[in-house]
């Protein structure tokens, strides 16, 4: 008897089902708690799609209109639910269409399991029809990937994929399954993975470093917490709040950290970075201690590194060791999970308050309000501003909606002016800044949290990058609320042309279709708003609508998002006023 035969005999004796690789894949997903898949079929993945029909009661498949859309939707689903997103595509063009979506999930540390089909194993390497080396292509943008050529390897590969994607610093993984492996039968048995010797996401807690951190914190005079996506990922929202409230230390958040700390809290100072709030940017350079938690000192956050936080000692709490001392040299590194560290840190820190330090932030807030926020969110004349739209939505939803954004001025306005009150309520493309993310992401977010109001802010440029996903919204009647902030320009690029290229508007003005008619073509109710008096009523009408709804809002054509830490400038050299 060969080893293979022996293996099969024991499997049969143990009552393991004899099923195809395609069916095994679906059973693995069900065992991992999956109930929703985003994807797009094609030749190589047909065996899997065929089996999906037998599992419709357990697995819902959302057919997007482009594979990139499936990838973004799966990522958004993961960001709002905390469960990994699942995405299926066929080989060749189906797989390559995913690349932007995979890279986007990778830079923002979101767990998505990408399943791509591959040509029959005997044809690999021959440039067969619809064969691409997706392993090679996706290698730099996945946390891990692998190819399955034999059906019996599939359960272990899936188990590994889930384990790797969801633990440590999460990220996308990809499994490429040949068509023959989908058809071939195996004796099915599934065991979740919780250990790989070459991968150790559970780092023993560095209690010495935590003690040192507590001493540094207890002696600081102008400390500042920088909270990133890691707070949300590790589930440390409550711990962060407790830590901040006990120590009295003010909190600033990164773009992806938004919603991890309530915007109305007395210790909240705003959001960091190029278009972030004035106070936290400016005062980063006045702090004597920076406690960075679950963030990676991205260049959009730090501005000019040579002039970044020079008066501060820096404590970096971060699960990914490769991020520590990568951009900013830190004084104390704590290479551990954010939540665990905070839990151990809280008992060690002293109850304190920093009234005069916090007052400095409030003075900055006042300056920013006078110079920027007031005219942006409550203008009395002129065209509608993006900021005022966001403020209205924020007020109408009580800050409780899930906000999805595209990229550009719409994104920065949403991030700046929505008053987030609950965690996991911002879905945005941070690291990649992928235009076209917003529309498909709204599909994923609403699918993941059907009970929540999901409002997307999208620019007229980015909307047209994935506009076909209106078809998905129609198909599944997904009740998302889409706000197209139409300025007739690729606004953010136009702003840079205005500020740094002598107002030479090269290829940024758009000739746009009538978005209302487009939406109606997809049988989605839609309305256009051009006047301020119609704004609030139209927004309220949109929010009350039962199904999906699109509101096109004509906003100021040449509005700039301010403040701005200009490229090459230090965080303390914030531009508040800009007159072209």
């Amino acid at each position: 008897m060969t080893e293979q035969e022996r293996h099969e005999e024991t499997a049969r004796a143990n009552g393991h089902e004899h099923i195809t690789g395609a069916e095994a894949l679906l059973k693995c997903l069900i065992a991992e708690g999956v109930d929703t898949i985003f994807g797009y079929p094609g030749g190589a993945i047909m065996p899997v799609y065929d089996k999906l029909l037998d599992y419709v009661d357990k697995l819902r498949h959302i057919l997007t209109r482009h594979e990139q859309g499936a990838a973004h939707a799966a990522q958004a689903y993961a960001m709002v639910t905390g469960k990994p997103g699942i995405c299926f595509t066929t080989s060749g063009p189906g797989a390559t269409n995913l690349v932007t979506g995979i890279a986007n999930a990778y830079l923002d540390s979101v767990p998505v399991i990408f399943i791509t089909a591959q040509v029959v194993s005997g044809l690999i390497g021959t440039d067969a029809f619809q064969e691409t080396d997706i392993l090679g292509v996706s290698m730099p943008v996945t946390k891990w990937n692998c190819q399955v050529k034999r059906s019996q390897e599939l359960p272990d590969a899936v188990a590994k994929a889930f384990y790797i994607a969801t633990t440590g610093r999460p990220g996308p993984v990809l499994i490429d399954i040949t068509k023959d492996a989908q058809i071939e039968k195996l004796y099915f048995k599934y065991k979740q993975c919780n250990y790989l010797r070459s991968y150790n996401p559970h780092i023993p807690l560095n209690t010495r470093a935590i003690e040192s951190a507590s001493i540094m914190i207890n002696h600081a005079e102008r400390p500042l917490i920088l909270a990133g996506h890691g707070i949300l990922i590790s589930g440390a929202v409550n711990e962060l709040r407790e830590f901040a409230e006990k120590t009295g230390i003010p909190v600033a958040v990164t773009l992806l950290g938004l919603s991890c700390f309530p915007t109305g809290h007395r210790l909240y100072t705003g959001f960091l970075g190029m278009h972030g709030n004035y106070g936290p940017n400016l005062l980063t350079n006045e702090a004597d201690l920076i406690i960075a938690i679950g963030m990676r000192f991205d260049d959009r956050v730090t501005g000019n590194l040579k002039k970044y936080a020079k008066k501060a000692r820096i404590i970096h709490i971060e699960i990914d060791e490769a991020e520590i001392n990568k951009n900013v040299q830190v004084d104390l590194e704590i290479h551990n999970d954010a939540r665990e560290v905070l839990q151990h840190l809280i008992p060690l820190v002293k109850q304190k308050s920093y009234e005069s330090w916090i007052r400095e932030f409030r003075i900055c807030d006042k300056t920013e309000y006078e110079k920027v926020i007031k005219q942006e969110t409550r203008p009395e004349s002129g065209d509608i501003r993006m900021g005022e739209v966001v403020r209205e939505v924020s007020e109408l939803t009580g800050g409780k909606a899930i906000i999805v954004t595209d990229v550009g001025q719409n994104q920065m306005s949403a991030a700046r002016y929505f008053k987030f009150t609950e965690p996991y309520t911002l879905v945005t493309s941070g690291g990649m800044g992928t235009m076209g993310f917003g529309l498909p992401a709204s599909v994923g977010a609403k699918t993941g949290k059907p009970e929540k109001q999901v409002v997307a802010f999208i620019g007229d440029g980015g909307f047209q990058m994935t506009i076909q996903e209106l078809g998905t919204i129609l198909h599944y009647n997904i009740p998302v609320k889409l706000i197209i902030l139409n300025n007739g320009f690729l606004g953010m690029v136009r702003q840079w042309q205005d500020m740094f290229f002598k107002k030479r508007y090269a290829s940024t003005e758009l000739v746009n279709p009538d978005f209302v008619t487009v939406a109606q073509g997809f049988r989605i109710p839609a309305k256009k708003v051009e006047k301020r008096e119609d704004l609030k009523g139209s927004l309220a009408g949109m929010l009350e609508a039962e199904g999906p709804y699109l509101l096109e809002i004509s906003v100021e054509k040449e509005g700039n998002v301010l403040p701005m830490v200009e490229p090459g400038a230090s965080v303390s050299e914030v531009t508040l006023n800009y007159k072209s």
Partner: protein, 188 residues
């Protein structure tokens, strides 16, 4: 200041690992001076020895990025004085040129090289040593009609006592203590 570092990387025998390593180096525009890949002393564990010239700060960053790769077990970075290392080179020289007098014996002896094969047309000489020594011998042989020359990448052994095996044991033990504490992204 740039200096020479030897990176010893232990990994699972996973297809594509070399590709992942070179991606990290390419992104940072770091040239690989030499590379050797083979099975290590631990069964199933592969050893990659890379020599790169870069700054201490950069080598630390790339080592962390390499260690972050899922299939990589452990990465050690050493400066040249922390390791014992060798390269091997083979030289093929025309017999005609070398056979005159005692030239060949002399060269082989003074360079601690050895002769592997002699034929009427050529002689093959082998030498192990550091890069400079290998290059010196090359210069010596060149005038006699060098037909072919190949040199290997670096192989290195550390002077430190702690070995990969003990790291593996630690990893396995850490796992045994806390199997149920594996954190997951699931909050619900």
């Amino acid at each position: 200041m740039k200096q020479e570092f030897t990176i010893s990387l232990f990994s699972e025998n996973h297809i594509g690992i070399l590709n992942q390593i070179t991606i990290i180096l390419t992104r940072r525009q770091i040239n690989i001076e030499s590379i050797t890949a083979s099975e290590s002393a631990v069964k199933g564990v592969h050893l990659l020895t890379l020599v790169v010239k870069t700054t201490p700060d950069m080598v630390r960053k790339i080592a962390r990025q390499m260690e972050k790769l899922v299939e990589v077990l452990k990465v050690f970075v050493h400066t040249s004085d922390e390791i014992i290392y060798q390269e091997i080179a083979l030289y093929k020289v025309t017999t005609k040129g070398l056979m005159s007098g005692n030239v060949i014996d002399h060269i082989v002896r003074t360079h601690y090289a050895r002769i592997l094969e002699v034929s009427p047309e050529y002689i093959v000489i082998e030498k192990t040593g550091h890069k400079t020594e290998i290059t010196e011998l090359l210069a010596q042989l060149e005038p006699y009609g060098l037909l072919q020359f190949v040199r290997s990448g670096r192989v290195a052994i550390t002077r430190q006592v702690k070995e990969l095996v003990s790291y593996l044991r630690e990893l396995d033990e850490a796992h045994r203590v806390k199997p149920e504490e594996v954190e997951t992204y699931n909050r619900n």
